[in-house]
Amino acid sequence: MTAEGSRSEAAEELTIAPLNIGPDEIAAFIAQVYDEYPHGSSFVPRWTGPFLKHIIFDHPQFTPDHALGAYMGDQLAGLIMAQPYAVHMDDRRVEGAYGSWLAVTPQAAGQFAAIKLLQELQARLATHGAKFMVGVAYHSGPGVGLEFWESYARAFPKEISQGANLKYWARVLDGAAFAGAVKDPLLKLGGFAARLRPVLRPRATAGIREFVSDDLERCQELLAEAPARLRTAPSLWELQCAPSLDQGPQTLVLDRGSGPDALSMFHALPMEDATPLRVGIIEHVCTSDARDRRRLLAATLWRLKQSGACLALLPQKPYIGASEMLLAGFVPYDADFKTFLMTLNDTVPPQIPAGYDLLVR
């Protein structure tokens, strides 16, 4: 048999099936794949087994169809995963999924594994009642990040739409650690400069505490009131704090005695640039009161800093003014992030509305 013949047969044999390895092995596989591609200009995420276990595998609505592998014979050649995720779309709650963690080994690049994984994931999620899948991509390496999703959207515009560029606010939490961990000279300089304005233990902490189950209804209302057409609609499980920041997202609330007036949802993600660094991702800060937001944000930043994060990122939201963020020590971070929406059901509008406030994982 010729080498060409062998490769041709392998292409036919690629099968997609639920992953048969655990979260630790999945995290190691993703890291190995990311390292096999040249890294882009953004930080490379280093998912951990406990974090993936918590947000995906421990989710009450998780099924084996939420974590798929592409197999060449017995060999794992790629994977994709999704976590159950609901949104408010205008006035209705819609069940769907947040899809990400797409990783395909360079050896399988000619087998269309990425396309097959995505197709199969969408088909299987639809059988579980998911009406959409949403995801965020950025330049973390060719073939595994933004380039793939953008190409997919160009090829199949009816199946996937991309939202406007997603921009972030960035707050350096530990200037020295950040400067030492990044490659870019400007970021290094920014890290050193940030030492002049460190994140300090907040003084006004009265009423700020971790989410408890009695907060559910009010927290869901706060998220539903966000002035955006498409916004996160979390369940009790998603609002509950993971055992630690290392294991999953946390929720803080500001409660003056009559229930939460504000909430923040955040997690910490190990990443790598010149050296490993820990980045805090603030997913949501919900309140209509700017002063409450400042207090809660200060408490959230402090928690992240205490956990060893040296940088915090917060997606820019149209209803939070730039002056407020600049006063809080944030600076605009314009790396190329994009949100993608795949509709799995024709009751969901095929385009991402201009105003959205979605999860970022």
Binding site: S8, A155, F156
Partner: protein, 80 residues
């Protein structure tokens, strides 16, 4: 018409990736690694625009993408 389509498809595939310059009408595009996930999607976008056809993600199979002839057959099958 089919010959014209074949020629256009072949010319486009030759521009897709370095190393594709020597691709001809009989080349097995899968076996030679002339297409990967990214270039396949560029190819689908090209076919959709150039021949005004609707190609679904489910059409992206090794059988349909095997060579220029199978791609031409796909375009003709999906012509509206």
């Amino acid at each position: 018409m089919s010959d014209e389509k074949q020629t256009k498809i072949l010319e486009f595939i030759r521009t897709l990736k370095s190393g594709n310059e020597s691709v001809d009408a009989e080349t097995d595009l899968i076996a030679t690694g002339s297409l990967d996930s990214l270039s396949v999607m560029e190819l689908v976008a090209f076919l959709t625009d150039e021949f005004e056809v609707k190609i679904a993600a489910a059409d992206v199979t090794p059988t349909n993408l095997r060579n220029v002839a199978t791609l031409t057959a796909l375009v003709e099958a999906r012509s509206v």
